[in-house]
Symmetry: D2
Subunit: 257 residues, 4 copies
């Protein structure tokens, strides 16, 4: 009946010791590595060095909180209906962090990681080709421009600065900025790298595969949602959001009935 | 139609600045506070000092990974059915972190935080009364004993040590240990504080209300679940777990049919 | 390593036959029992007779759709972020069907099912005592009154009528109406049974335990949420709901900055 | 601040009347249409006739319960950890009904609905071309064959029979069977249509777009999961499933430590 052994290389225990990915939890990890570093460890199968830790923690901090996003509203609506289960409100909020929400971040990371790898490549030419390809396919270039943070999304230069201070501002960061330059030239107006593009670039510098970028967003947002659930319990707005939407939707039917 | 203003005190923006709980994200937080510290900030409405940061991060690290727990198995079964939506697999895994899973941790934190607050109280007498009360109600005392980590759950002394090194080993830690002593005396065999009890104690030392303890578990486990989802995609076990359960359940019916 | 046999009495198979709770799916159920009847079967461990089927299906139909409820808005916000995973949008929407959402329906069913069982009891006196008890505890009597459907929630008389036409309008329906009468007398104005109270009453008539009433709500709403997800994909409103909430929340901070 | 009107064409109310998709809930729907019929109505924007109702209900009944599937195990593991929130256990179970779980059903429906539409087409030739195309792409043909229900999945002939009895066994059913014939000829052994293929065929006969087929699976399974949650509360197996998986995973590490 058993076709395959059930295995997990993540964690295991002896009576007096617990191992996480081969490290002794109590002797080697607790008190020595932060929550963010451990998240890096579980995602990447290696502990970060100090520079990688700085960049990875900055990515997570950037992603954890953006005000009343759809996932925050979902978490607040859910705790209002089911106050007995905070965990389910977090779960509901995370469920919408999909293709449309993290698509731009995943897309930018993929774009950078799949760009021609020749170290001698003329990155400016690479960037111009990418922008031309997107234009030809009538697709939006991910990672650049912002409707509100004009002309510059302040998170992007700060993330690049943190990477630079830690010796990790490399080819991916350069390419991301050259893409923004190429697009600006094409459009005839300044378009900057946004938070999404900067996260994609610095995550690529520390070797995070683009397929895992979504996981960082989910993990970081989970912490942020607890804050929104706490706020809903203290100063509720879910009922008001729902009532207004319902009444406006009703109103078109009620008129003339 | 509007009865109440929709407000949120968590995050807001100007074109060139983003605020999180009144702090400038780019100038004051990014690169200065880690992911764990920011989680503390969002939960507690204040930034941690260095000692609190050490203890809070240690709590989160302790909680993020325990091997093939029910929530890990759920996440792995879910990604196996729906590989298109990593976020939904995390959400499903978190949904079971409820009364039975975090009940013991919440219960221990509540016990400590609701114990008689008189600073001159004889904590040993308080502990003995608590143990006697639980015995009279035939309830299990939370936070002590472990079926596998015998005689000592190694996470407990390490967490107390981290609290001590940071000047945060106070009354709650003492009371938790005295409760274990009182229970040991009652049972006539050594019973130690477990990870749950130690987390409850050190979380209480840094002022985390017992009602929020569940949120720390949810947030920490979200990061751990990404690791399990990654492992399922690389070395799948969900199919085998399901197949064995289904075949065993079928077998009682098939016999004699 | 095995302490307990893994069993399930719900469904099992032979190569040429599938059984659901002892019934042959193909020979005895498919084409003979509707989706609603099968839901009754899985919840109650027996197939409904024709009258019970009429009442149970009416309960489910009443519960499946109520316009832009919190769970519908959650499902629409979630599919907007993660269009790749319809199942996750349904899941997110269901997560809020908790104590506050179904509390009133559960509460009314419990009230009726735990009322003094003596068949000769004077139900009017029982109802008056219940209303007095709630008043003394300053609690809201569940199952009566409605802010919008004034003076009568049209679903209540229709559900009672369906029960009556099927010979199932008994003691629970009577008691529910007497409770509304007693409350009306106490308040000096007419207060009627609402949909929640009527569902609780007719569900009690067909023997559904109050603890399972929540499950009927969850199951019925799952079908309704698919309709909302379809509408969001065809005529999206999630972005507008989010944008308005976010802008209003931002506005209090922006003023004076 | 408002860019778009918030609208919903699903349900709206007057004080004495509730409309669902233009029908008066109390006068036209309650007591006249079953839960399954209403689900059809919400998915398809029209009420089913008697024949469509028979076929649609049979599809839903086929999908609602399959024993200890991954989604059932997930629901049982989740309620074991969080017994306070039945809705969250259903939600977790539904989260895995994604590409791999319903992929085959969606794939078969898509295959049938996108097959050359010329009514005079020689369906046998169409089927042979489809099978040849899948072989050339080394892909598995969806909707045929079953590892356990050999040689015939009993649900398939029964679903076809129900369609036939209701005058709805048409071109899609024929094509599905011809695909199985063509594959049998290619492989030199009998391979039959399975439940997935039969559902895809009869759903196509009643006009259900392949993109909505997933929704029927989600809705039907929600009802089935309530049954599994009830069973876990009465005769728990989640702890045993988890314990065995965890111990087996631990065992490879413990050896030699």
């Amino acid at each position: 009946m058993k076709r395959k052994k059930i295995e997990s290389a993540i964690a295991w225990s002896l009576p007096d010791r617990i191992y996480v990915k081969g490290q002794d939890l109590c002797a080697d990890l607790l008190g020595k590595y932060s929550f963010g570093d451990m998240a890096f460890f579980l995602l990447m199968d290696r502990l970060p060095n100090r520079s990688e830790s700085m960049v990875f923690n900055a990515i997570a901090v950037t992603l954890m909180e953006h005000g009343l996003t759809p996932s925050a509203i979902v978490a607040q609506l859910t705790i209002a209906g089911a106050p007995e289960a905070m965990q389910a409100a977090v779960a509901a909020g995370l469920s919408g962090l999909g293709n449309n929400f993290v698509g731009s971040m995943e897309g930018a990371a993929r774009l950078l990681q799949e760009a021609p790898g020749d170290p001698d490549a003329d990155l400016r030419a690479v960037a111009e080709r990418i922008v031309a390809d997107y234009a030809a396919r009538r697709q939006i270039v991910p990672g650049v421009g912002h409707p509100f943070h004009v002309p510059v999304d302040p998170r992007a230069p700060r993330l690049f600065e943190i990477a630079r201070e830690n010796g990790l501002e490399g080819r991916h960061c350069t390419l991301m900025r050259l893409i923004a330059d190429a697009l600006s030239a094409q459009r005839g107006k300044p378009i900057g790298v946004n938070a999404t593009g900067a996260i994609a670039a610095v995550a690529s510098e520390i070797g995070i595969p683009w397929k895992i970028v979504r996981g960082i967003g989910v993990m970081a947002r989970a912490a942020g949602l607890i804050g929104h659930i706490k706020e809903e319990l203290e100063n509720p707005i879910a009922g008001e959001i729902m009532m207004r939407a319902a009444e406006e939707a009703e109103s078109s039917h009620a008129i003339g009935s």
